[in-house]
């Protein structure tokens, strides 16, 4: 397990509220994430997990409360591009760009946003693809890869911007069971290298192996926060217990 530096918060969320029209999706979420920490978020479907992590790179705007990422507060008019460069995101549905090769998917942002020269970007891209174990596929198009491979490309693509924080929204739930392992392995290596990570995932093995904390969401708020052992072996709340029962028997 990685050692988090407990005096150096990189994400501070205070009393975050989010509405979709009338619907109150986040109801005063408070959370602090330390640099190097690996946080696993679990909770029933529709509880606001995705919404919450999408507010952290402002794919969704919150209506009340404050979110501070690496010292910059997220609000109307703040430098979004700067924040998005610091925060990488991996989606459940990969969202690779189908018209670009695997390598081009990875090098697009460094070249366009960081104005990195092409050869340098290619070198970086190949190194990252090497790290996620698919450098042989660099010239293929996304549709020619398996789901697990696509998701690893998506991770490499996010890493290419050298983010300080990585967000994962159910990165393995769209995958066939036999491909889940390869993606989790990449994520574990990433966690051990000291990356700050927020992962929405129900993979207990992953949580037990690398998470510092597990956070349980229900109905738009955090219900329980615990260590992985505590959370899975000795949950405090009734709703947590019910939820764990459900996923164990699923």
């Amino acid at each position: 397990m990685t050692q988090a530096n407990s005096t150096d918060p990189i994400i501070i969320a205070q009393d975050v509220h989010k509405y979709f029209g009338q619907f109150h999706a986040l109801r005063g979420v408070n959370m602090t994430v330390q640099k190097g920490e690996v946080l696993v978020i679990v909770g029933p479907s529709g509880s606001g997990k995705s919404t919450f992590i999408r507010t952290i790179n402002r794919l969704e705007a919150h209506q009340k409360g404050t979110i501070i990422v690496d010292g910059i507060e997220l609000k109307e008019g703040s430098n979004l591009d700067a924040i998005r460069r610091e925060v990488g995101m991996v989606f459940q549905s990969f969202n690779l760009f189908p018209h670009l090769t695997v390598l081009q998917n990875v090098t697009l942002a460094p070249m366009q946003v960081r104005k990195m020269p092409k050869d340098k970007a290619n070198a970086l891209g190949m190194e990252l693809l090497e790290r996620v174990g698919i450098s042989e596929q660099a010239q293929k198009f996304p549709a020619q890869l398996s789901g697990g491979q696509q998701q690893r490309v998506a991770i490499a693509r996010a890493l290419a911007m050298q983010p300080k924080v990585m967000l994962f929204d159910e990165p393995t739930s769209a995958l066939d069971p036999e491909m889940v392992g390869e993606v989790l392995d990449v994520m574990k290596t990433l966690a051990k290298s000291g990356m700050t990570m927020l992962c929405v995932t129900h993979e207990m093995g992953f949580a037990k192996a690398v998470a510092n904390r597990v956070v349980f969401f229900d109905q738009g708020n955090i219900v329980e926060e615990n260590t992985p052992e505590g959370f899975f072996n000795n949950p405090q709340h009734e709703r947590t217990k019910m939820f764990l029962n459900q996923i164990r028997h699923a």
Partner: protein
């Protein structure tokens, strides 16, 4: 770095001002041109008696609109019937039927409507037996008959494609499910396939109706006395080009917007509930 924010109200109003200025310059240019040619815009011309009907110019325009509406309604019904037959034939298991239907669709979609109108009127109508010609002419007016024929056939070729696409959009599993429940071919078609296909085809069918209404303006080229015809007549009798074309435009806008509104209602009625 992010100093240029296009949502900034100042920039927005600047852009808006620019657009208004652009339109303003055009209008000013035109009004100068009008003045130089001693033309005065006279909206009162709408109230003056018409040279070609017993009413005023305005009632004449409305009379034209009424014929436009009737032409459009009759044509859309004929086009729908023809289109369904041809569209289903496009999927027939009989090769010959399929080929004939395909030729029909391709020919009528790929030639201009105006050519077809002239073809029916000057080409085909003249070949009909004299008795038939006369009776059609006295009953509906020969130009109207030719236009309705052309409009229905032209539009039916588009509708046929819509119908075919609608039927083909239904997954094969639906046919199989119908069969496996023991429904007959007709039952499967009527109870399972068509109700689903209807949802797919209603929006494009609505579009076809809209297009047909606009296309009916070509009837004026044969002298059928619909909206566009009377508008242009008003222009040539009064010399008020702007007023006349504005009246025409307004007439078509009103019809288009009403049709759109009705279509939206129908769409909402038929739409499948989806999670927004």
């Amino acid at each position: 770095m992010n100093s240029f924010n296009p949502k900034n109200p100042v920039i927005q109003s600047l852009f808006g001002a620019f657009l208004i200025a652009l339109v303003g310059v055009l209008v000013w240019q035109i009004s100068q041109g009008l003045k130089a040619n001693n033309i005065v815009l006279d909206w009162g011309v709408l109230g003056q008696p018409s040279q070609i009907t017993s009413g005023s110019n305005l009632t004449t325009i409305l009379l034209g609109m009424w014929l436009t509406i009737r032409i459009a309604l009759v044509s859309i019904i004929l086009a729908l019937l023809l289109g369904i037959v041809v569209g289903v034939s496009r999927l027939s298991s009989n090769t010959v039927v399929r080929l004939v239907a395909t030729a029909y669709v391709e020919f009528f979609r790929n030639t201009p409507l105006l050519v077809q109108i002239f073809f029916w009127y000057f080409g085909v109508f003249n070949l009909l037996p004299k008795v038939v010609q006369d009776s059609l002419d006295t009953q509906f007016g020969a130009p109207t008959v030719a236009v309705v024929a052309a409009l229905s056939i032209y539009t039916s070729s588009y509708i046929a494609e819509t119908i075919r696409a609608g039927i083909q959009s239904i997954p094969k599993g639906q046919f199989e499910a119908g069969d496996s429940l023991g429904l007959s071919g007709f039952q499967t078609l009527g109870l399972i396939i068509l109700p689903q296909a209807l949802r797919v085809v209603i929006p494009p069918l609505g579009n076809q109706f809209l297009n047909l209404t606009k296309n009916s303006s070509l009837a004026s080229q044969l002298g059928a006395q619909e909206l566009f015809y009377y508008g242009i007549q008003m222009q040539s009798y009064s010399g008020q080009g702007f007023v006349s074309i504005s009246a025409i435009t307004l007439g078509y806008l009103v019809m288009s917007l009403s049709i759109t509104a009705i279509l939206t209602l129908i769409n909402n009625r038929f739409a499948l509930a989806v999670r927004k």
